[in-house]
Amino acid sequence: MDKLSAVIAVSSVLFSIGLMAVITRRDAIFILIGIEMMLAAGNLNLVAFWWYGAHPELLTGAMMAIFTMAIAAGETAVGLALVLAVYRHRRTTQVDELNSLKG
């Protein structure tokens, strides 16, 4: 097992843990945390394929990872602001209690 496969295996496990957090948690904050873990796993893949790929001198994967981080940080800020706005109205962050559109 070479090093690239090992890094990709670790990032696969990290992605699955993030997915598990998204599905099993009922708290909206932890759904966002799970999304962050999945994004970190994707970023890890980008950097690994850059470092072990064909043309590392072009910095393609590394630049992509930097842009992904910026987008992820913006996503977290907006997501947590949404959680705060929902909490102010409903006094809860549990997603399965936010069912007022349900018939």
Binding site: D2, K3, S5, A6, I8, A9, V10, S12, L14, F15, S16, I17, L19, M20, A21, I23, T24, R25, R26, D27, I29, F30, L32, I33, G34, E36, M37, A40, N43, L44, V47, A48, W51, Y52, G53, P56, L59, A62, M63, A65, I66, F67, M69, A70, I71, A73, G74, T76, A77, V78, L80, A81, V83, L84, A85, Y87, T92, T93, Q94, E97
Partner: protein, 163 residues
């Protein structure tokens, strides 16, 4: 891959995945957020291991510094009511396991390209800056607009409403 290279890899992988697992399962919200910080530090260490020191430092500054503080603030601002429902949706564990099995199966069946990492470190701050100002100047401007919009949107959403 000899033992000298294997040992830091295994230690970092264990720290990252243990932190992530704790963040996904602990029921105390603040403890889970701090485990997430541990996991992010592990990912940053992976970036250092992969020769991307700049991205590792950005990971520490952005995630460990800013995002984790933001998450802890939100947790402290949104205390749940005493009668909040506990418990998890355990069917999600099986879904996550199935996805993991699919990913590892796909990885097992793929022949990855032969790796030829650079002899020296390519990701200097100078190289990143030159790339950002030449080939990636339009993506950089677009990210600037996205971050500005996200900042304004977050402030508007979190602002107290005037009655």
């Amino acid at each position: 891959m000899n033992l000298f290279h294997l040992l830091p890899f295994v230690v970092i992988a264990v720290i990252t995945l243990a932190g992530a697992l704790a963040a996904a399962t602990l029921s105390n919200l603040v403890h889970a957020a701090l485990s997430l910080v541990l996991s992010f530090l592990g990912v940053a260490a992976f970036y250092f291991l992969l020769g991307a020191e700049f991205i590792g430092l950005v990971q520490v500054i952005v995630y460990v510094g800013a995002v984790a503080v933001l998450i802890v603030f939100t947790i402290l601002l949104t205390r749940p009511l005493p009668g909040a429902r506990k418990g998890r949706n355990w069917a999600g564990v099986f879904v996550a396991m199935a996805v993991l099995a699919g990913l590892l199966w796909a990885l097992h069946g793929t022949t990855l390209p032969a790796s030829h990492p650079l002899a020296s470190n390519a990701l200097t701050v100078l190289a990143v800056g030159q790339k950002l100002m030449t080939a990636y100047v339009w993506p950089l401007q677009a990210v600037g607009i996205v971050l500005t919009a996200a900042l304004i949107g977050a402030v508007v959403l979190a602002m107290e409403e005037k009655r």
